[in-house]
Structures are given as structure tokens and as C-alpha cells.
């Protein structure tokens, strides 16, 4: 539940679910999360970093999993975005992290995604990034963006 105190940056936590394979709606949760962060009046660059990371992760659920949940938690000094999906999982994370590596389908590529830059992009924009995965079960990402003024 959103904290309703008059603090500039209240503690906040909420979870949003994402449906795999639903390309028309892909990105909706990220837009929503970006809107929430904007309302908190966080620095522009912080919101931008968090939004990009969330969007890449959401696209990966849509592309590679049946479903997933994105949890946004915000406190005084950082944004934590936890993404847990039930999907095919990633057999070799080091390989998946490499720029250009992708198992995307033609359909995904036609939409301009699937160039194998998503995880690399998350790694670049998040201040801290952790990924674990189990083949046949699912994947979990924890992405942290520090809230520093003027960043």
C-alpha cells in the first residue's frame, strides 16, 4: 500500500502483474511505474534509469515467459524493482547477458526488439543488478536505482 505521509519520499511498495505473449499491452506496467515515480518528484535521471530497466524486464516477460510480477519498492534512498516470472528460464546467464545474444523470434524482431541488448541495458542503467534463473521454472531480477539528487 502506498504510504500517505506528507514526507517528500514516502516508503512505497506495490506489485503489478504482466501477461506473457501479450505484445499489444507490453510496456503498460512500466508506464504505470514511471508515472508513480514522477508523482514522487524524484530526480529526472533516477526515474529514467528505473523506467528503462523496468521496461526491458517487462518486455522480457512478454517475450519469454507465461507471466510475471513486477514489484516496485521505493524508500528514502533507493528504488528496488523486483521482477519474478514463470517462464522458460535462462540456461546460461553469462551468455544471455552478452550484447547481441538473443533467442527472439521473427515476430519480436519485427517490432524492433530482440537485438539482444536488454539485459546489458539493465546492467548499464541499474546501480545494482542481480539475476537468477531456473530452466523450466522462471527468472528473477532485482534492479536497484539509487536516489541521489542531481544525478
Amino acid at each position: 500500500m502506498p504510504g500517505k505521509s506528507a514526507d517528500k519520499k514516502p516508503s512505497f511498495s506495490d506489485t503489478f502483474s504482466v501477461v506473457g505473449g501479450n505484445f499489444d499491452d507490453a510496456g503498460r506496467v512500466s508506464s504505470r511505474i514511471k508515472g508513480i515515480l514522477k508523482k514522487m518528484c524524484l530526480p529526472f535521471e533516477v526515474i529514467r534509469k528505473a523506467a528503462i530497466c523496468t521496461f526491458e524486464a517487462e518486455m522480457n516477460i512478454v517475450c519469454y515467459a507465461q507471466r510475471g510480477d513486477i514489484t516496485l519498492s521505493v524508500d528514502e534512498d533507493r528504488i528496488v524493482i523486483e521482477v519474478v516470472d514463470q517462464g522458460e528460464g535462462i540456461p546460461d546467464i553469462d551468455l544471455a547477458m552478452q550484447a547481441g545474444y538473443s533467442t527472439s523470434t521473427a515476430k519480436i524482431r519485427e517490432m524492433g526488439f530482440g537485438a539482444g541488448m536488454g539485459l546489458m541495458n539493465i546492467d548499464r542503467y541499474a546501480d545494482d543488478f542481480d539475476i537468477t534463473s531456473e530452466v523450466g521454472k522462471g527468472t528473477k531480477l532485482v534492479m536497484i536505482v539509487n536516489i541521489t539528487e542531481g544525478s
Binding site: E56, G112, A115, R124
Partner: protein
Amino acid sequence: MKLSEVQQILDAEVVVGQDQMQKDVYTAFGADLMSDVLAFARPGTMLLTGLTNPQVIRTSEILDIAAIIIVRGKVPPPETIKLAEELNIPILRTRYILFETAGRLYRWGIVGCVDKVDAGKKRG
């Protein structure tokens, strides 16, 4: 440069955002890969692309893209237009190819825009 001037230079049709033609733009980013846009485009830039699916609008929203210029005369589908209207992101449509579009804008002083964060920064 105002979006209205961009419209003239590109002989473009305003698909969404007629009310935003006074917006100022200085930079452009050309790509058919949203992955690329996500990796390198800076906020406030124009996106020149041949893609027309709703994800282009989502990507633009996430990155605070100032306007989308759809090239090659492609017609965006209704779901794309609807989302752009909802999120208030202008779409212009030109029949020029991306090369010509970039060339014309470049000649009028628009410059490229790239986020220069280098990839290996954190992990060294």
C-alpha cells in the same frame, strides 16, 4: 527548431499532436530497433523510425522522446495512434526514407543525440 518547421521540411502529415507543433526540438535519433533507442537515445529528442507498432509509443514514453517521425510513408495502426493520443506524444508521418529524412533535418541544423555512457563502465 519548432515541430511545425520539421513538418514543413519533411512535408509531413501530423498524425497526433497538432496542438504541440510549437514544441522546440534540437536533436534526432534514427533507428528501426527499439532496443537501440532504449540503449542510447537521450530525452527530448525526435525519434525517426520506420516502425509503427504501439511499442514505439511505449518506448518513447519511457524515454521522454519529444516527437516520433514515422518515415517511408508508413501508416501507423489505430492502436498506435490511440496510445500516442493517450500519452500525448506527437507523431508526424513523412513519405521520405530515413536517409532523406535525416539528411534534410541535418541540413537544417538538427544534430544527433547519443547517450555517451559507455557499456563496460560498471563492470569494468
